[in-house]
Symmetry: C2
DNA sequence: TATGATAGTATATTTTTGCTACTTTGTCAA
DNA sequence: TTGACAAAGTAGCAAAAATATACTATCATA
């Protein structure tokens, strides 16, 4: 094998790998980045924590398979979803060759008040230290780094807060994603053109209320 | 279909997609970003230009398959190679469901003096306007954007020049990747800590020779 | 009504960027 | 031999952005 077998190739005659999608669903809770995981019921890795995933249907687009996995396992629809990386180490599944096209998803915590049965949130920083099923710890680390990098030059942080949010709340999300404290005044200057005020304020806290903002949709 | 068929799954009983790798090999020639393409000999898309690619061996890691494609088709080894994106539109290959795990590679032009038979370089900006085989035009665009973005926060530009290079040469690479002119003095300040002088100078040009530098390996 | 705590603003300082102008050093042609 | 050309390389300034600190504002509660 390993010769050039593209030349006169009938793909159907070769052994093919199976293909799955796995989704790293991130949210922020208790001031930390958390990941949605399921407890595996079957071998291999029965009893261990794993990412929600599914096999890809033979006529199903990859994005749709990832969205389906999230809907089926976590009961979530319409979330921010983007492809992460494709994992193909021949030994990553002990049964046979299975590729995983991984995706990452971002949702505000408010949409995870009632996690689907069999799923729960785990702190991303800590969970990757423990043994997870397959190479899922590595996938989470990869997702963690990706969103950290993207937070600096895109607006993905907004996907982790609700429609309406306060600036301290948004700043906290950025700080968690970037892994560093930010200066209040500087932060506000930087995102000023991405947000718009509402008339609302928070209330009930034993201190000054904060104004509630919305994401400005591009004009 | 499209139900949750991960629960008690024997992957071998389902129809599986075929999996290929395709490599977008970039280099810089004639002051422009260029891509290595091959002319397809077989259907589908016979006679059209396509990325070098190959089917993935059933026990072959994805990275190795991509490296093998480059070696077989372009005669290149040991190049900078990184995964780009996985393309899975069900209609992307008219024959059957075939996924493509795409990679991008960067080499200095000096390593492409004698392109392998059946391959040639084409300007990246222009070629994506023309019809290419499969979704390869889209893959090249994706790679184009990726390296453009990465050029700003990594050292990938160095992969497009040889071991030794002049600063005007390196600056030109950055300018092509970023798509904009840079100021000489500012550019030099910025990369000063990434390079080290050699004693050599260019010669033979009808003007002042330029000093030759090397990439500084981290201490 | 004073206090604690967080929200929000003003302003100073440093670094980076954008830009212009200048000096240096080679080849080539008169 | 020398002056013109051309690109290499350096100096330096102003504007803008990033970094950092200090201040004022406003709520609940005691």
């Amino acid at each position: 094998m390993q010769t050039d077998f593209l030349a006169h190739y009938d793909a159907s005659q070769f052994e093919k790998p199976s293909v799955t999608v796995d989704a790293v669903l991130f949210t922020i809770r208790d001031g930390a980045l958390q990941v949605l995981l399921t407890r595996r019921q079957e071998e291999p890795f029965a009893g261990m924590l794993a990412l929600p995933g599914t096999f890809v249907g033979i006529q199903e687009p990859l994005d749709e398979a990832a969205a389906r996995a999230l809907k089926t396992k976590a009961g979530l629809e319409g979330v921010y979803l983007e492809q992460l990386y494709t994992w193909g180490d021949p030994g990553r599944d002990p049964r046979m060759r299975i590729l995983s096209v991984s995706y990452y998803a971002l949702v505000p915590e408010s949409r995870l008040m009632h996690p689907a049965p069999g799923t729960a949130l785990y702190p991303a920083e800590e969970i990757v230290q423990e043994p997870l099923a397959f190479d899922h710890a590595q996938i989470i680390r990869c997702g963690r780094e990706r969103i950290r990098g993207k937070a600096t030059y895109t607006d993905i942080a907004f996907s982790l807060v609700g429609e309406e949010f306060t600036l301290p709340e948004l700043q906290s999300v950025y700080e968690i994603l970037l892994g560093q404290k930010l200066y209040k005044a500087n932060f506000r200057k930087k995102i000023a053109d991405k947000i718009e005020e509402t008339e609302k304020m928070t209330s009930g806290n034993a201190h000054r209320p904060s104004r509630i903002y919305r994401k400005r949709d591009k004009e």
